[in-house]
C-alpha cells in the first residue's frame, strides 16, 4: 500500500501528454533494456529482505548443516525473535507515526519486575499478566502524554522514560532477579507447552503480528497513523486529532512492551531490571531494515518482522559457528547500513 510503484512515477504531468506518457511507461516498465527484469522483481514487496533471509539460511546450511536446519534450532530462533518481535510491532507504529520510542527495553524490564514482585505474584498468574500489560501501557501513555500534550520531542521524552523506568525497576527489585513462583507456572507454560512443535509464546508473537498488521492496514487507526506521520499539518487540517492519535501510538507501543514482558518472564522464569537491555536499538534497527522511514509516513509491519528475523538468524549463525559476539555486532552494523543504502537506491529509482 505504501510502496511507490516505479512505473507510476515516471510521468510528471497529469495532462493529456502526461497521460500518454503514463501509458507508455506502463507499456515499457523502467525504460526497458536489461533493467527490466530487475525492475519487475523489485516490485514484489520485501523481496530484498526475503532474499537476504534465504542467503543467510544457505550460509547456515553450508557452514553448520547438522545444527542449523534442525527443528529445535528453528524453535530457538523464533523464541528469541518473539520478545523483540512483539516490541518491534509497537515500534513500527510509533515510527510510521513520525515518532521514536527509546524506552521499550526499560519499560519491558519494569513490567517484568512489577509483575514478579511477591505482592503481585500472590494474586496468581492472570493478575501478573494483566499487571505487566497495565504497567507497559501506563508507561506508554505517559510517554505519549508528554510528547503530544507536553510538546516534548519524542527522543527526549522516551529517553527520560528509558532512564527512569530502568531505575524504578532496580528500586522495586532491589537489583535482584525475581523468580516466577512455582504456583504461577502458568506463565512459564507459555514457553514449555508446545502445539505442533512450537511453544505457545511463538503463537502469541504471531497473533500480535497479525493483529498489528490488520490494525495498520485495515483500520482507520492505521490509516491515520500514516497520515499523522506523513504530514501532521495536513492530517490536522483534515480533521484528524493528531495529538490524541500520537498519544495512542505510544500507548500501543507500551502495551506491546507489556506483552513482551510476559514472554520474557515465560522464557527466563524471572523478572529483572536487566531484561531488555538495548532492545530499543534492535527494534528500531529491525524497523529501519524493514524499509520504514524514520521520518514517518511510510513503512510496513511485514518488513519490520523480516528485518528482525534477519537479525535473529545472524545471531544464531554466529553462535552456531562459535564466532564471537563482537564480530556479530560488526556484521549487524554493516547490515543496517547496507539495507538503508539499498532502500535509498530503490526509492531513487522510483522517483
Amino acid at each position: 500500500m505504501t510502496e511507490v510503484n516505479p512505473q507510476q512515477v515516471s510521468a510528471p504531468k497529469a495532462d493529456e501528454t502526461g497521460k500518454a506518457k503514463a501509458h507508455a511507461a506502463v507499456a515499457t516498465p523502467s525504460g526497458g533494456g536489461p533493467r527490466l527484469g530487475l525492475g519487475a522483481i523489485g516490485e514484489i514487496p520485501h523481496i530484498g529482505l526475503v532474499l537476504a533471509l534465504v542467503i543467510l539460511a544457505a550460509v547456515g546450511l553450508i557452514t553448520v548443516p547438522d545444527t542449523f536446519a534442525t527443528g529445535s534450532n528453528m524453535v530457538s530462533i523464533l523464541a528469541l525473535a518473539a520478545t523483540i518481535g512483539v516490541i518491534t510491532v509497537g515500534a513500527t507504529f510509533v515510527i510510521i507515526g513520525g515518532g521514536i520510542d527509546l524506552s521499550v527495553g526499560a519499560v519491558m524490564a519494569l513490567a517484568s519486575v512489577w509483575a514478579t514482585t511477591l505482592a503481585t505474584q500472590a494474586y496468581g498468574p492472570w493478575v501478573m499478566m494483566i499487571c505487566a500489560i497495565l504497567v507497559g501501557t501506563g508507561a506508554g501513555l505517559l510517554n505519549g502524554f508528554l510528547i503530544s500534550y507536553g510538546r516534548m520531542v519524542p527522543f527526549i521524552a522516551t529517553l527520560a522514560m528509558l532512564v527512569a523506568a530502568r531505575g524504578l525497576a532496580q528500586r522495586m527489585s532491589e537489583r535482584r532477579t525475581q523468580l516466577v513462583q512455582p504456583d504461577n507456572s502458568l506463565i512459564v507454560d507459555l514457553s514449555t507447552t508446545r502445539i505442533l512443535g512450537l511453544p505457545l509464546l511463538v503463537y502469541v508473537f504471531a497473533v500480535v503480528v497479525i493483529i498489528g498488521w490488520l490494525i495498520l492496514n485495515r483500520t482507520t487507526f492505521g490509516r491515520r497513523t500514516y497520515a499523522v506521520g506523513g504530514n501532521p499539518e495536513a492530517a490536522r487540517l483534515a480533521g484528524i486529532n493528531v495529538r490524541r492519535h500520537t498519544m495512542m501510538l505510544y500507548a500501543l507501543s507500551g502495551f506491546c512492551c507489556g506483552i513482551a514482558a510476559i514472554i520474557i518472564m515465560a522464557r527466563t522464569t524471572t523478572g529483572s531490571s536487566t531484561h531488555g537491555d538495548l532492545y530499543e536499538l534492535d527494534a528500531i534497527a529491525a524497523v529501519i531494515i524493514g524499509g520504514t522511514l524514520l521520518t514517518g509516513g511510510r513503512g510496513t509491519i511485514v518488513g519490520a518482522i523480516l528485518g528482525l528475523l534477519i537479525f535473529t538468524v545472524i545471531t544464531n549463525l554466529f553462535i552456531l559457528n562459535g564466532l564471537n559476539t563482537s564480530d556479530q555486532l560488526i556484521a549487524k552494523g554493516l547490515i543496517i547500513v547496507a539495507a538503508v543504502l539499498l532502500q535509498r537506491r530503490s526509492l531513487k529509482a522510483s522517483t
Binding site: 507510476q8 497529469a14 482507520t220 499539518e233 495536513a234 492530517a235 487540517l237 480533521g239 486529532n241 509516513g297
Partner: protein, 516 residues
C-alpha cells in the same frame, strides 16, 4: 509599453535586462521583460501577484535560468548561471523570509559561506571587526557582532541581511517586500539604511505592494503585468496612483468564470461576530449564506488567511464563530469537520497533501468514518467512493491508485477539494488560494467546480491574491486591509481598479509582525 526609448540614457545602466522570457510547464511566467537599473537608485518593481515579479527576482538571483533574453551589467553581457555566480557579479537578494541562521551570531551570519578563516579555523576577531565596520556603515553600530541573531527583532534581522549583502560587495541589492514584517518606525529605519547604501552607489531593487512606501523611497518604477513590462522608469514620486494602478490592472485574464445563478441564496450558515486574531485580524464581522461564494481580497499579510484559519478552528481567536448555530472551537479542527466544514489550505503540499500516498488515500483521509465500522475500513466501499470522485472531478490521469505527488498542481487541488465531497452534507468550504500553481485549463475547471458546489447549496469562503479571480468568482467581496474589512460589496459593484486601490493604498502596518 511606454517610456522605454526616452529612458535609455547614454551611460550604460548598471543592470539592464532585455526581453527576458521564462516558460514553466503550462505558464509563461516572463514573456519579454525589460529592466534598467542605474547605480545609486532605488528602483521599484510593481505588479500584481502572478505578474512575474518573483520569477524575475529569481532570474536575477541566478536561481532560474531564462529561456531567452540577455542581461547586461555596465553594458557587458553576463550570465547569472547560479546563485554564487550572481553573488560574484554583485547581485545580492534579500528574500522576504530572511535566510539567517538564528543560532549563529550576527558576525557569523554576515560572513556565512565566506568566512574569515585560516585552515578551517574561523578568525573570530577579524570577522567581528569586519562586521562591526559594515554595521557602522549602515548606521547600526549598536548591534553587537557577537549577538545571537535569534535574539534580534525583525528589523534587526533585516539590518543583518543587508550587512550580509554588503559583505559580498553587492552593487545591486534586491529586496522582496522588506517592509512586510516591520512595524512603522522600523520601516523608516529601513528607508534610512536604503538611503545610506544608495548614496554609496549601490542600486536597490525594491519590491512592495505599498504605494506610499514607493513614493517615499523610490526613484523610478517598473510595472509588470502578465509577465511583460508595461512601463519602465516611471518617476516614483509623481506618477499618479491612478496611472500606476491602471497599468497594473486590466489583466488579460484568459480563464473563464462560470455564470452566477439568478436566484437568491439560502439562510446564513456561517456567522463571524467580532472575531479577532492576535496581531492579525481585528474585530471582523460577516456571514456567509448557503449557496453563496464570499471572496476575501487582500494582500499577503493582510489577515485574510488568518480569518479562514480561525473559521476552521485551526487558529486561536477571540469572538464568536458559528456554523448553523453551532460554535466553532479554536484548536479543534475535528469538531469543525464534524460541523460540516472543509478546508483547502494555502500551502497545498505542506498543509494539504500526503505526498507519498495515492490519490484515493488523499481523498478519503477526512471521511474514513463513512465507510468503516468500529474502525474497520470497508475497502471496497472506500475504493468506490474514491474512484467515483476521481471521475466526477475529472482528475487526470484517472487512476485513484496513483501517487499524488506525480499529478499536476491543478489535479492535486481537485483531490484536496474532492476530499470534502465524499458523501453529502458538506456545508461550508474554505478555499485559500485554490488556484495557486494551477495552469489555465485546470483553473477554469476548478472555478466551475466551486460554482457547481455553491449551486448545490454549499457556502464558500474564498481567499485569493488575484483580484480578478475574487471578482470573477465570488458573489460578494470583502476587501481586507490590516486585519479589517475596509469594504464589503457585491462583486458586480466593484472593479479591479477599486479593489486594488483599497488593498494597496495602506498606511504601513503599525504593529504586529506579519505571519506569512
Amino acid at each position: 509599453m511606454e517610456d522605454i526609448s526616452r529612458e535609455q540614457s547614454e551611460t550604460p545602466s548598471l543592470l539592464a535586462m532585455r526581453d527576458i522570457v521564462k516558460q514553466f510547464p503550462g505558464v509563461r511566467a516572463l514573456d519579454g521583460v525589460d529592466l534598467d537599473v542605474r547605480a545609486g537608485e532605488v528602483h521599484c518593481l510593481l505588479g500584481q501577484n502572478g505578474a512575474g515579479k518573483s520569477t524575475l527576482i529569481k532570474v536575477l538571483a541566478g536561481a532560474h535560468q531564462p529561456d531567452s533574453g540577455e542581461v547586461l551589467m555596465n553594458g557587458e553581457p553576463v550570465k547569472l548561471t547560479t546563485p554564487t555566480a550572481a553573488m560574484k557579479l554583485g547581485v545580492a537578494t534579500i528574500y522576504q523570509e530572511l535566510d539567517l541562521v538564528d543560532g549563529l551570531s550576527v558576525a557569523e551570519n554576515v560572513f556565512l559561506g565566506h568566512e574569515h578563516a585560516t585552515m578551517g579555523f574561523t578568525r573570530r576577531g577579524a570577522t567581528n571587526a569586519a562586521t562591526r565596520k559594515i554595521l557602522e556603515r549602515l548606521g547600526h553600530g549598536e548591534i553587537r557582532p557577537t549577538t545571537e541573531v535569534g535574539r534580534l527583532s525583525p528589523a534587526g534581522k533585516q539590518v543583518v541581511s543587508m550587512a550580509r549583502a554588503l559583505s559580498h560587495d553587492a552593487r545591486i541589492i534586491v529586496m522582496d517586500e522588506p517592509s512586510a514584517a516591520l512595524a512603522h518606525d522600523e520601516v523608516s529605519n529601513l528607508f534610512r539604511i536604503i538611503r545610506e547604501v544608495t548614496a554609496q552607489g549601490v542600486a536597490v531593487i525594491y519590491i512592495s505592494h505599498r504605494l506610499e512606501e514607493i513614493r517615499e523611497i523610490g526613484d523610478r518604477v517598473t510595472v509588470l503585468k502578465d509577465g511583460r513590462t508595461v512601463a519602465v522608469g516611471l518617476p516614483a514620486k509623481d506618477t499618479p496612483t491612478n496611472k500606476v494602478v491602471s497599468l497594473m490592472t486590466g489583466r488579460n485574464v484568459e480563464y473563464v468564470f462560470p455564470p452566477r445563478p439568478d436566484g437568491g441564496f439560502g439562510d446564513e450558515i456561517l456567522k463571524i461576530e467580532n472575531c479577532s486574531v492576535a496581531g492579525m485580524v481585528r474585530d471582523v464581522t460577516f456571514s456567509v449564506r448557503a449557496g453563496e461564494i464570499v471572496g476575501l481580497a487582500g494582500l499577503v499579510g493582510s489577515g485574510r488567511s488568518e480569518i479562514i484559519e480561525a473559521v476552521y478552528g485551526a487558529r486561536r481567536f477571540a469572538g464568536k464563530i458559528t456554523l448553523n448555530g453551532q460554535v466553532v472551537k479554536a484548536g479543534n479542527t475535528t469538531r469543525s469537520v464534524g460541523l460540516g466544514m472543509g478546508l483547502a489550505p494555502e500551502e497545498r503540499k505542506a498543509q494539504g497533501l500526503l505526498l507519498g500516498q495515492s490519490v484515493a488515500r488523499n481523498i478519503t483521509m477526512a471521511s474514513m468514518e463513512r465507510y468503516s465500522t468500529f474502525g474497520w475500513i470497508n475497502r471496497k466501499k472506500e475504493a468506490e467512493e474514491a474512484a467515483h470522485l476521481v471521475k466526477a472531478l475529472d482528475i487526470r490521469p484517472p487512476d485513484p491508485n496513483r501517487v499524488i505527488k506525480t499529478l499536476s498542481g491543478g489535479n492535486q487541488q481537485k483531490a484536496v477539494i474532492g476530499r470534502w465531497l465524499v458523501g453529502e452534507g458538506r456545508k461550508l468550504l474554505l478555499l485559500d488560494e485554490p488556484t495557486r500553481g494551477v495552469d489555465v485549463g485546470a483553473r477554469a475547471e476548478i472555478y466551475a467546480l466551486i460554482r457547481k458546489l455553491a449551486d448545490e447549496g454549499v457556502g464558500v469562503l474564498l481567499v485569493s491574491s488575484e483580484v480578478p479571480e475574487v471578482l470573477g468568482l465570488a458573489d460578494r467581496v470583502l476587501v481586507i486591509r490590516e486585519g479589517r474589512i475596509v469594504r464589503e460589496a457585491g462583486a458586480g459593484e466593484l472593479d479591479e481598479h477599486t479593489v486594488l486601490d483599497l488593498v494597496m493604498d495602506a498606511h504601513p502596518v503599525t504593529s504586529a509582525p506579519s505571519h506569512d
